[in-house]
């Protein structure tokens, strides 16, 4: 089955710096990946996704990189702001008949 790990369960960055959150996955057949942001007391929100035919996708201040060779994703947040403080999860889309697996997430704290 799928297992999802997250490097560095906590990450502290200075406001204005760039943040990089990493995620490893185990199923080499995974072909679609989603990043979620969960603020305190709220449900996870979709941030950005990427398919396995891409190695990079950019959104507004966020970029996701996918390295299928080593089964690793990263979420980069440019010019980190206080509003970016949250827990971030990556979720590989599950194979048919299976359900999403979520790791514990990485808590991003933005320091003033």
């Amino acid at each position: 089955g799928e297992s999802v790990g997250l490097h560095l369960p906590t990450l502290s960055v200075q406001e204005g710096d760039n943040s990089i959150i990493n995620c490893a996955y185990s199923n080499s057949a995974s072909d679609y990946f989603i990043w979620y942001k969960q603020e305190s007391g709220k449900g996870p929100q979709f941030i950005i996704d990427i398919r396995s035919n891409m190695d990079k996708r950019q959104g507004q201040r966020v970029t996701v990189l996918l390295n299928k060779t080593v089964k690793h994703l990263s979420l980069q947040i440019a010019a980190t702001q206080p509003g970016d403080s949250a827990v971030y999860f990556c979720a590989p889309y599950p194979p048919h008949g299976q359900n999403f697996v979520f790791g514990p997430g990485t808590r991003l704290s933005v320091l003033p």
Binding site: G43, P44, N99, F100, F102, G105
Partner: protein, 111 residues
């Protein structure tokens, strides 16, 4: 786009009391629906999922049950709450798009 409603937002219940949490979905039809529980500082634990009306699958043995009386309604219940049922309960939906969307959650405290 899909919208997921959950209520109540917060609930404090005594041990041994019943529970009913409701989730409704707008903007999609025939979605897969999910109930997750999240302990403080932890990941999401899948409790139940449903691929259609009346179809419920349970991921872990527990004190809770789920029902899906309508296509876009998913209910989480318990006859007698335990202290260990405290947590943050999230309803999620997987519709026509390949993305799972989450509701705002219900924080349950059992005393």
């Amino acid at each position: 786009s899909q919208t997921i409603h959950q209520w109540p937002a917060t609930l404090v219940q005594p041990v041994g009391s019943p529970l009913s949490l409701e989730c409704t979905v707008e903007g999609t039809s025939n979605p897969n629906l999910y109930w997750y529980r999240q302990a403080a500082g932890r990941g999401l634990q899948l409790l139940f999922y449903s691929v259609g009306i009346g179809q419920i699958s349970s991921e872990v043995p527990q004190n809770l049950s789920a029902s899906r009386p309508q296509d876009r309604q998913f209910i989480l219940s318990s006859k007698k709450l335990l202290l260990s049922d405290s947590g943050f309960y999230l309803c999620a939906c997987l519709g026509s798009q390949e993305t799972q969307y989450f509701g705002p959650g219900t924080r349950l405290l059992v005393l």
